[in-house]
Structure formats: C-alpha cells, structure tokens
Symmetry: C2
Subunit: 444 residues, 2 copies
Amino acid sequence: MPPVKIVPRLPKGMRDFLPADMLKRDYVFGVVREVFHLYGFEPLQTPVLELKETLMGKYGEDAEKLIYHAQHPGGKEEVALRYDLTVPLARVVGQHENQLTMPFKRYQLSPVWRAERPQRGRYREFYQCDADIVGIAGMQADAEIISLIVAVMRRLGFPQFNVKINNRKLLTGMGQYSGVPDVQLGDLYRSVDKFDKIGAEGVQKELVERGIAADVVARMIELITARQPGLENLDFLEDIMGSIPAAAEGIRELRELAAYLNDADVPTRNYEFDFTMVRGLGYYTGPIFETIISEPNLGSVNGGGRYDDLIGLFRKDSLPTVGMAFGIERIIDVMEILNLYPPDIVGTVVEVLVTAFSPETRSQSTRLTAVLRSGGVRTELYMQEKNLGKQFDYANKKGIPLVAVLGPEEIVDGVVKLKRLTDGTEVVVKQADAAGKIRELLGS
Amino acid sequence: MPPVKIVPRLPKGMRDFLPADMLKRDYVFGVVREVFHLYGFEPLQTPVLELKETLMGKYGEDAEKLIYHAQHPGGKEEVALRYDLTVPLARVVGQHENQLTMPFKRYQLSPVWRAERPQRGRYREFYQCDADIVGIAGMQADAEIISLIVAVMRRLGFPQFNVKINNRKLLTGMGQYSGVPDVQLGDLYRSVDKFDKIGAEGVQKELVERGIAADVVARMIELITARQPGLENLDFLEDIMGSIPAAAEGIRELRELAAYLNDADVPTRNYEFDFTMVRGLGYYTGPIFETIISEPNLGSVNGGGRYDDLIGLFRKDSLPTVGMAFGIERIIDVMEILNLYPPDIVGTVVEVLVTAFSPETRSQSTRLTAVLRSGGVRTELYMQEKNLGKQFDYANKKGIPLVAVLGPEEIVDGVVKLKRLTDGTEVVVKQADAAGKIRELLGS
C-alpha cells in the first residue's frame, strides 16, 4: 500500500528558519548572551508548558484569549504554552527560592506563543529575550538594566537609538496634581500610551471623552509634554509638583537613576526622559523604559521597567524586581534593514568544500577532509558523483568561500589546490599545511 | 483587594533549569554545535507547533497517545506539539525544496514533548539533538554521520564508547535465509530489539511464542550472534548467505561503510558490527547505529540510521536520508556521573564581584564595574547595603572566583585590591590595569 501523501505546510503564524536565517539569528543571540554574561546575568530556562493557574489572570482578558492550551489524551492537568517569560520568572522565584541567591540576575532567551492574527512581522511563535534583577529595590538595579540595554544595542552595531525613561510614580503624581480622579488613573495611562500614534491632541480628546474635565486634561498634557534638556526637565517638574508625594518620589528616583547612568559611563545621547511614554502592562510600579530606533524611524526594540509586586503572587512577600525584554525578532529584522550583520555571516557554516575528482579519488578526499577538520576548518566533503564544474557550482550556490581540488596529480605530489571563489585566487599547498593556508585565505 | 496567592509549581514531567544547570547544558550544546559546524552541518529550526496531519500516523499508535495537542480559544487549525525532529525535517524538505541545495546537511537542537509517565531521568519536555544528510544514497553519507558521532563523543571527553552498527537489509536477509516468513519480519525486529535486555534465550523463546518454527529461530539466533572480529564477521556471513540478495546488499553496504570510516580516520575501537542491535523505529531502511557507553555500563546515548522513504510522505519522490540523534539529556547526566565538565564550568558566569565599601563609594564601584566590563571581564556590581564580610560570603556562595575591594584608601590611590577566593591571593593594582590582572588571576 503506497503511503498517503501529506501536503507539507505549517500552522498559521509559524515559521521555519532555514540555515541562512538561523546563522543570522544565532549571531544576534550570541552577541546578546555575551553582553548579558559581561553584566553578570545568568541563564535560566523554564519549560514551554506551564500550569494554567500560573498563567491565567496575569495578562488581562484580551491577552488571555491568545494563550494556547495544551492537552494529551487522558491528561488531567490543565496546561498551557507560556505567553511571556516574566510570569514564569515570578513562579521560579517563588518555587526555588531556597536554591537562589538574591539578587537573582537572570536572562532567558526563549520562544513564547500568542495566537494573534498573523501579519507582516508578527508571528504566533516568537522569541523573547528578557533580563531581570530580582531583589534590589534601589535605582542602581534600574541603572544596571539600562546600561545593559545600551551595551547590547552598541555591540550589535546600532548607530543610533534612544532609551526613553519615565516613572509610573511620576505619572501618578502628574495625574493627582492635574486633578485626575484616582479611579481614572488606569484610563489616563491607557490614553497617554497612544501619544506616539495619536499625538497630544488625540490623547486630550480621548481623555475628555472618558469623562475627565477639560482643564484637568490640559494641565496633564502640559506636564507630560514638558521638554527641557536632560535633568532640567526634572527640576521643572519638581518646581511644579514637588509637594505631591508620588511625584516627588518619582523625580527623586529618576535623578538617582541618572546619576548611576552617569557613573556607569552610559552616553547621554542614548537615553532621555520622556513623560509621554507609558508602557502598556499593568504591573509596572516605578521607572519604565522603552528603546526606540528613530532615525530612520524603525520603532521600539526594547521595553521594561520596575514591577515590585508581581513576584508576590507566588510568594508570601514580594521582591522588588526590574527588568527588560528585547523585541529580538524585530531586532533581527531591523539589523537586516540597517545592514548590520558582519560580512562573515554568510548563508553557510562551511569554510571549504573538498571536491571529489573521480570515484577512485574519493578515499583521498575523505582523508583530506579528516585532516582539515582536525585542523579546525569547517569542511564539507562533496558526496555526489558529478563533474568538477558542478561541484564548483554547488559551492557558489551555497556561498562556500573556498574549494579544495584533489586530482590524480595533486594526490601523487601530496598536495592540494585551494581556490578562493570570491576572487579566483589559487594556491597549491602540501596537504599537511592546508588548514593553515585556508585560515590565511579566509583572512581569519 | 490583595491578590490571590498561587502555589508556584510545574506540570508533571517538566523542569526548570537554574543557572548552574544551564551553564552545563550550554557547555554541552556549545561543543555539539561546534563539532556539527566542523563537519559542515547547518542549523535548522522548525516551530514547536505543527499541524496534526503532519505528525499523526508517523510514530505508531502507542506513541501517538503521548502527543500533546494544542488549541487557542476560537482556533480552527488542528495543531500539536512536535514529538521529534525527524518528521519536521521531512516536512521541511517537502515544503522548502526550492530553497534547499541538496545534499541538505542540517542539525537541530530543540525540545520535543511526549506525555510519558514521568520517572527518574525521563521527562515530558526534553531536548533532542539531530543531524541528518538528505539527498545522498551512498555509504559516504552514513560514514559521515558515524564520524560525526565519534567526533562529538571525543570532544565531550568520553574516554570509552562504542558505535554499534547493523543494517536492516542484512537483518531482513538473515530472516529470509533462516526461513522467517516475510509477514513476520516486523515481529523478528521487535524481538531482536530486546536482545540486550532478555538475551539470546529470551529472544528465542519470544520468537517461538510468536509462532516461528524453533529451527528457524535457532538459525536466526546463530546468525545475529556471530562474533568474529571486525570485517571477518562480514566474511563469515557472506559465506553463509551471499546468495540472499538483501543479505548480500547489506553486507556490501557495511563493507563500504567500514572503508570510508577507515579513510576518515575513525578509530576502530570506537565502532563495531553488532547484528543483535535493531533500533525500534519502523522507518529505517539500511544501516542503523547505536552508541553505547559500556564501561561503566551507562547505556545508549545516540541512535540513528538510514531512512530512505520517510521524506516521500511529503514529496512526490522520496530522497535518501541518513541521520542520528543524540540523547542529549542522557549525555548531560552521564557527563556529570563521569565528571567530564571542565573545571571552569562553575555555578556562575561572573568572574569578579565589585564590592561596595559604603554608600559613599557606590559611585566609584559603579565606575570600576564599567571599566572592567569594557575590558571584557564578566563583572557583577554588588548592589545591596551590607558589610564587606557579607559581600564576600555572597561571592563564596555563588562561586564567584574573584572579589574587587574599593575602599576609601584605594579610591584615593586610584587602585583596587583583588582577592582570589580559592587561595586567598591578594594583589593591589591600578584600576586601569585591573582587567588584565584579573585575566592573569583567573589563569585565562
């Protein structure tokens, strides 16, 4: 009985990464990991499947509809695919606290699942890349997170980017000063969050529609759009609202944060205070950050902030926490747009193709391949029975930079001919010296 | 309203990997990837969720019960979590064939899900690590796969291991020669597969119970237990069964394979022919391999073989394929048992802890931290307000090898005191020279 054929396809919003894409992704992941380690963040990994009780009720109703549930035949536990890496972190801290030393500086670089409507640049399985510091209430931790963001962005080669910084406490203080009723502070955040898209007028209109008095809204807009350079912005706001406790506390925190950023040698051109920046998530309690690539305008690539209450869901007492997440899928795309991948990230890992001159010389080609690999050269052995021209075509198509030719003459002389495909350079070397010569030809 | 507390726990069979474990896992993954690249295998990644139609009907009924199904509210597609990495590879080859250059040598290092009954060393989410060559029918590809297995095992530091090699064609030939009816060849494989556990007598008994004549079974057992050294085993079998086409073909393939392994300089102590080794999966069509750590007896850590028909499920014509999978979770455990992790894989990424002498010196500690990180030293800045003794305790507990002390005197002199915790060595150096000195103290 011939087997039934299956049309090879994927569920909506899912992707395969073929090697050329994977090599770029692995490059970005590698740089990110290296910088995280430099800053003393340690790797954590949580499982893809979590109990539903862990995930549900943390993200809001609209988000919960996007969570994938999972089950196996006869299974009794209610499980689901993780929606982000932050709630799992909070669970881990509650679950393994005896094994963790505080502060717990961890990163996780893992996929998450959200059944959003697929569209260009938005997928249902995508990687998140989080770094958080658990257990430090002071602004030194917030500064450490911002330093880390800036270091990663610089190491990836972004010529221009900007970490916008605000503080939920300050926003609350502004609302209170302006006369926004406490119960409407949530509405306030939600509207201001759209500032980038709908502008001051749009936010103003929306807040009035939500039933906040026009003069209250006007005062609020004036505060959030205050634009003095650098720390003068904080002086300006303190003069106005210094007597509102939430505002005073928010301003003090931002001053402290700025001082640590200065100590940490973070360039001032890479961060600024922007009081129109809110961040959607409900759980932030202090400073919030969002990193923008503005010239050209390529949008947000990182977001984060302080959320001192979340871990308290999984533990008797909460622990102060600050963290950030790179929109790593967006970064991978933007690096392509800005041409930031190093030239040696080509479509293949292979450095040299060892050709097979004829069936009789296969044995010698196999031997040479073993010698090159022992010498640390990433080597592919050509295994099809085709003529040398076809073998060169294969190397060209795959983007392999070098080809090794081992014909009867070379075999007799114990040598090999190496050809660099980019410029046609040919050299003949002893087989024992080939690995070294290849390094030289690759300029590495 | 105070939030409801949630007991932090995981679904059955799921694990968190805290940093100390992750560093070991990442070490193993890193070595494996490096060797795969050396052999010219390229990275591939497929999504966790596949359409059910892709997975179902490939693994057998018992296995299918272990597959996790997934769904989101309102979702219409039938999706499931991947069960292995081989069927997704076959789908990828069918789906993206225009973008792939043959042969396609790919590896994938990813988790899979199976709802097996959890027990010691068996989990419901675990990593698989596969390397396959698609598009080459000749034994050079099988030899390449076995060379790769041996290279990975050696690079990981396993002092002793053995790749057992058999051939499904030869097993079929043995069955035919012995008089096993063709329809019972499946039963034959299943029973012989238990040879390691139940021995020759057990297999013999089981085959007789399955209704195969006692004399047929006896002939079969004699063939599979033939134990001449090395290639003589093949001569011995050829003398007996050379006229059975399947046997002759199987023997020819194994001879060719052995010749390529010899060319590739694979040590003969690391592989042997073992005709009692079957491999459970139904889809193998030619040579099969299984790697065993036998002294001490730690079981199987790798399995694979040739499966020339599977890709044909997703494509008009199938493509010859040979591959292997490391039992990477088992390898991670066995490396612990055999103490194979390098001594620098400690419980932390941090190389030096920069202490904070007092609140007044925090600013200088932050500066020094920035300098060390610029110098490539993986540095943690101490952020709590505790005395120096407590800070040293913290470094000791985390396993950080070096501590940097920056008190008022050091600050005045522009120096820093470095202490190596393993032996108490103390040196005082200029802050600008600290990164170099740290490298020296770490012996790296």
